[in-house]
């Protein structure tokens, strides 16, 4: 149907005629109407459902106790994450402490994402991927210009950092607030001489579950790894499902390291003292 948009009424009718359009990479609101929920979430309160395209981002405020499921739908997503304490965003992900404190460079089930205040931002409840990176961060505008010809947020080959700058801006944060990130679903291994080699990906359907241990602001850019050696810009959609996990039902029992237990204890003390 051709609609005239030469009048305000016509323009309104044109805009409203798009109602009900469904694409793969969008948020579904209310979340309960989305498909793709795991069996463990069937009885839980469903909070958020979104699929983020390759070369795109999202910025979410997430309640304490929520479980965040990230799924590499087609086996070529790369989720670059930063998390902040939503009640005081000067407290944020510290990748160095995350690996140093837990004596482990490779993320997996039972590890925490640690803040710079000695507290847990999130716990990795489940990880069917095992292919992640805590070292090389995100791609940059200049790097993508060299690699792909362009790297702006509005081109076909956006850099991860450009996307994170926008995600940060949506919650009132500035470029200087973006610390080093962790990257999920693309693995890198450190050889004894320190060099990094790709260990690839786990394949379509790989999942990571994070439990928010305090109210979080979560920024996610889905963009190719800065060391992706392939010709062309390759990144497939990332599915996000978030449900209320505060009852701790249907959650795996974890074996936590001593340092992780201390971080959770610090977090619980902080939350109780602050009354949040």
């Amino acid at each position: 149907m051709t609609q005239s948009t030469s009048s305000t009424e016509g323009a309104q009718a044109h805009a409203r005629s798009m109602a009900g359009t469904v694409v793969e990479t969008m948020a579904t609101i209310p979340a309960s109407e989305a498909t793709g929920w795991p069996a463990e979430a069937v009885t839980a309160k469903k909070l958020w459902a979104e699929t983020v395209a390759g070369g795109n981002y999202t910025a979410l405020s997430v309640a304490r106790g929520a479980v965040i499921e990230l799924t590499d739908l087609y086996g070529d997503a790369n989720a670059h994450l930063v998390a902040y304490n939503a009640t005081d965003t000067s407290e944020r992900l510290n990748v160095a402490d995350t690996v140093k404190v837990q004596w482990q460079a490779y993320l997996g089930q039972g590890q925490l994402l640690l803040s710079d205040r000695g507290r847990a931002l999130a716990t990795i409840l489940k990880d069917t991927s095992g292919k992640h990176d805590t070292f090389a961060g995100v791609s940059t505008l200049e790097g993508n210009r060299d690699r792909y010809g362009d790297g702006t947020a509005y081109c076909a080959t956006p850099a991860g950092r450009e996307l994170l700058v926008l995600a940060a801006a949506k919650v009132g944060l500035e470029p200087r607030d973006i610390p080093p990130t962790v990257g999920l679903f693309k693995g890198y291994f450190v050889q004894p001489d320190g060099s990094l080699i790709s260990t690839g990906e786990a394949g379509a359907g790989a999942k990571v579950w994070l439990r928010a241990e305090m109210p979080l602001v979560l920024l996610i850019a889905n963009a190719p790894h800065p060391l992706d050696a392939r010709e062309g810009y390759h990144c497939t959609p990332l599915q996000i499902r978030i449900w209320d996990g505060s009852s701790n039902e249907n959650q795996p029992q974890l074996e936590l390291g001593l340092e992780a237990e201390r971080a959770l204890a610090n977090t619980h003390a902080y939350i109780a003292l602050k009354g949040i």
């Binding site: 000067s90 990748v95 160095a96 402490d97 710079d116 000695g118 961060g137 940059t140 200049e142 450190v190």
Partner: protein
């Protein structure tokens, strides 16, 4: 006191000692050199680098690692900003490798690594906050730093940790500034791991010009 061989023909812009356990900072103009002398051996020198004219452009451990596809810093390593731009280059290194994975010690991370009894000990983040405040920098401006003279191997199973250092008394390294930079240093006060040989000591900071 004589200067290290590598800069013996340079003219000295500044020459100072970073106190044990204390902060240090300095401006290094594009083309100038900063030499750090590990006077007593195995003293971790936690360092952050900012564009002197726009501090939102600052050292990025991930971009530095991605730029060389290697986690260790050694002679030839380019220390990159969050934009990917070169800030400084490690043009001379008498030790072999330095860390940029382990970050700084803090009172808070001490509580996790060693226990609550260490929380009131002085730590690198305190030095960064104190010295950074002189430049209008605050907690939001602190990111994963460089640890010169600190040894952090990564095992094949992913286990990593601060182990005994490979430096020695009098060894030095020299950085060349690729633009005007402010260098923020914490001369690490940590006493609960071997990063300072359990004994924090002074280091010498020499800024020079080759011209």
């Amino acid at each position: 006191m004589s200067v290290p061989e590598f800069i013996k023909d340079h003219s000295i812009v500044s020459d100072s000692v970073a106190e044990k356990r204390g902060p240090w900072s300095g401006l290094v103009q594009a083309g100038e050199y900063l030499t750090i002398v590990d006077l007593h051996g195995n003293q971790a020198v936690d360092s952050l680098i900012y564009d002197a004219h726009d501090t939102s452009i600052r050292y990025s451990a991930p971009n530095t690692i991605a730029g060389q596809a290697n986690v260790f810093l050694t002679e030839g390593s380019v220390l990159r900003a969050n934009t990917g731009a070169p800030l400084m280059t490690l043009v001379h290194d008498e030790v072999g490798r330095h860390d940029t994975v382990g970050g700084a010690c803090s009172k808070e991370s001490n509580s996790l690594r060693y226990g609550q009894h260490t929380v009131h000990q002085h730590a690198c983040v305190e030095n960064f906050l104190l010295e950074g405040a002189k430049y209008g920098l605050n907690k939001r401006d602190l990111v994963s730093n460089i640890n010169f003279y600190m040894n952090v191997p990564v095992e094949p199973n992913g286990m990593l940790g601060i182990v005994d250092g490979i430096s020695a008394p009098g060894l030095s390294l020299t950085l060349r500034a690729e633009r005007d930079v402010s260098v923020l240093v914490s001369n690490c006060p940590q006493i609960n791991n071997p990063c300072n040989g359990f004994n924090p000591t002074e280091v010498r900071m020499i800024t020079t010009s080759a011209g």
